[in-house]
Amino acid sequence: MSIFHASAEQLELVESFVRPLEELFPVARLHRAEHTDYDNWVTAAEFGWFGISLPEEAGGIGLSVVEEALLFAQFGRHLISPGFMAASLAAKTASLSGNDELAQKILGGEIPVAIARQTAAGITLVDAENAKLCLVISAEGTKLFPVEAIQQRALLDRTQWSIALESAALPGNPIAQASEEDIGASINLLIAAQLTGIAAATLEMAVAYAQIRQQFGVAIGSFQAIKHYCTDMVMNVQAAKDMLSFSAVAMAGNQPDHRFQVASALVVATRAAFFNTGKNIQIHGGMGFSAECDAHLFLKRAHVLETLAGGLKASRAALRAENSIFGKDAAFTG
């Protein structure tokens, strides 16, 4: 039955992957300013997390983008640094550039990678303080640079957004690159996956709080307004999850409509993440507004991931460029 959705076997396999996550990456770590997920970089590489969908002979795990998407949804739940996505995309970029040696090194965890988005003014770097390579995403695809080649780096913020953001100039010659056609769907899928994880985690947080927080003598979850927020949140999660799984399977099977499906997944997941992280704060009330609550961390990370995708408006524009199977002359291929 895995021709449309992730199979039970795939879901189970990913379960085994994610068992270490709670221990290695408790969300609470983000409250410590000095934490860095790069401390676990080599461990992550050893788990094979950077090369889930790359063939074994290329140093990967030899699974598909379905397992990869499911894993990155878990990364989203744990607010793992987007650098981990950078590693996966950098290995693919190197591999697509024919630089297998570089890909192997990245997969092995030897060279920590950070991620950046090209902007009108240059690039925005995310969590790049411990990286040696930087993968820059743009509408044209990916480019890989040595971090030392990046000029005019300026720290925008490290505390407000709970992750280091820097602006910098776009460097010249990349050491590897991949076209949007080759890697665009991979980028969108991994970002959609993490946003889906964020939407799911905040739903669970909100429901758990609504069940225990008492006001007016009863749990606030018995109030219709809270119920309806939570229902909207769970519908968002269901839509984002199923869209993610469906699009990943289409991509793994190289279905002709897979770019349409993945672009849809990104739009659905982005909106789900914003709605759910915002409502989670509201449901938590004053507590949700406090720095010590996890709620704001999810909201902020959703913004960072949206930024890396080029912004929701750009994601919608990208979806516009795809042909729908529902279009006038298009055939259904299932």
Binding site: M1, I3, F4, H5, V207, A210, Q211, V218, A219, G221, S222, F223, Q224, I226, K227, H228, C230, T231, D232, V234, M235, Q238, A239, A240, D242, M243, S245, F246, S247, F260, Q261, A263, S264, A265, V267, V268, R271, K313, R316, A317, L319, R320, S324, F326, G327, K328, F332, G334
Partner: protein
């Protein structure tokens, strides 16, 4: 030996190409009945009726994925809307009988439904039991081997052209709320029944009020057991929340694509892309639901899909009016200017308001505590 999904799809596509009627259905009255029955008969004769129904009663016992493929091709071929006079028989009464009916009930009714011989109508809501179905008051008193029914139903779809009604009544006069109800097959030509069609804001009268004055129904027409009607009714509604609306979903996606093709206003593009993505997600959810329903009982995802569909349908209709304006040919459709838009207002009302459905999802899916409402 079994046909591949692609082959099945190709066969469906080619049959539909040759058989879909040129004109859409009349919206109400006897003409709509004749149209619906003729089209159902044609599908049955072509081997396309009751795709997931038991072979014992003339069904095909195909997989849900084949059913989905059929509906997708069905919508693609712009076949008559499945939200027609056959809807209650095909998507409510039929599945309910399959799940809860006696062998006699199944043997008598299922072939008639599949072969396009009868129209079924609904009989759940009452003037004071809308979203709060459990408060219904229409009574059926046991007298010998009959029920004697008195009371009133409202929002009964297709009651003016129906042969049979799925009728939910209070058969234990001392009972209250969910207890003491029965789900009964009511022949609409039984003496004592009066039907008064209700015009809607969209125009056509596909609903009616039905009045019962000492209407006598054999006890053998009870489905799922005397005073066990709540359980049967919940089963009925759960079918509606499953794949029943798949063809409607696909039509919705097609309408989104028409809007995208027609609109060149950048200010509306974001809205349309959200609709496009959400329609794609609705399809992904429906596939997931179908796949899960093949391997075991499915939970309340069905009610989420139904609500998601309802609100998406409203948004699409609203975008259509926004883009084309109220007087445009695209808004005229075949049922009068603005029909689709006006009709979309029933999406979040009919079958329980969106607000009550949200409560139910919050309580059943998420386990939030029951509140006063």
């Amino acid at each position: 030996m079994s046909e591949s999904l692609d082959d099945f799809r190709a066969r469906a596509r080619s049959w539909l190409q040759e058989n879909v009627p040129e004109h859409g259905s009349p919206m109400e009255g006897p003409e709509s009945r004749e149209y619906a029955l003729a089209w159902q008969k044609r599908q049955f004769e072509g081997g396309w009726a009751g795709l997931t129904w038991p072979q014992a009663y003339g069904g095909k016992e195909l997989s849900v994925l084949q059913q989905i493929a059929w509906f997708e091709e069905y919508a693609r071929a712009k076949a008559p809307s499945t939200h027609n006079a056959l809807f209650v028989g095909m998507n409510h009464a039929g599945p309910t009988l399959i799940a809860c009916g006696t062998d006699e009930q199944k043997a008598f009714h299922l072939p008639k439904i599949m072969q396009g011989e009868v129209i079924w109508c609904q009989g759940f809501s009452e003037p004071n039991a809308g979203s709060d179905l459990a408060s219904l008051r229409t009574k059926g008193l046991v007298e010998g081997d009959e029920l004697v029914v008195n009371g009133q139903k409202i929002w009964s779809s297709y009651a003016d052209i129906g042969d049979y009604q799925e009728l939910l009544i209070r058969t234990d006069p001392a009972s209250s709320r969910h207890h003491g109800l029965s789900w009964v097959i009511c022949a609409m030509d039984t003496p004592g029944i009066t039907v008064r069609p209700i015009k809607t804001m969209a125009g056509p009268a596909k609903y009616a009020e039905v009045f019962y004055d000492n209407v006598r129904i054999p006890l053998s027409n009870i489905v799922g057991g005397l005073n066990n009607g709540w359980k049967t009714a919940m089963a009925t509604l759960s079918f509606e929340r499953g794949t029943a609306s798949l063809a409607l979903q696909i039509s919705l996606s097609q309408r989104v694509e028409e809007l995208i093709a027609a609109n060149d206003d950048a200010g509306v593009s974001d809205t349309l892309m959200d609709l496009r993505a959400d329609a794609a997600a609705l399809r992904a959810m429906s596939y997931q639901f179908a796949i899960k329903s093949e391997t075991g009982p499915v939970g309340s995802e069905g009610s989420m899909i139904r609500l998601y569909f309802a609100e998406l349908a409203k948004r699409v209709a609203s975008a259509s009016i926004d883009i084309f304006g109220i007087g445009a040919p695209q808004v005229l459709a075949e049922h009068g200017l603005g029909f689709d838009y006006f009709d979309s207002y029933s999406e979040t009302i009919a079958g329980g308001t969106a607000e009550i459905q949200r409560n139910i999802i919050a309580e059943r899916v998420l386990g939030l505590p029951r509140g006063s409402r």
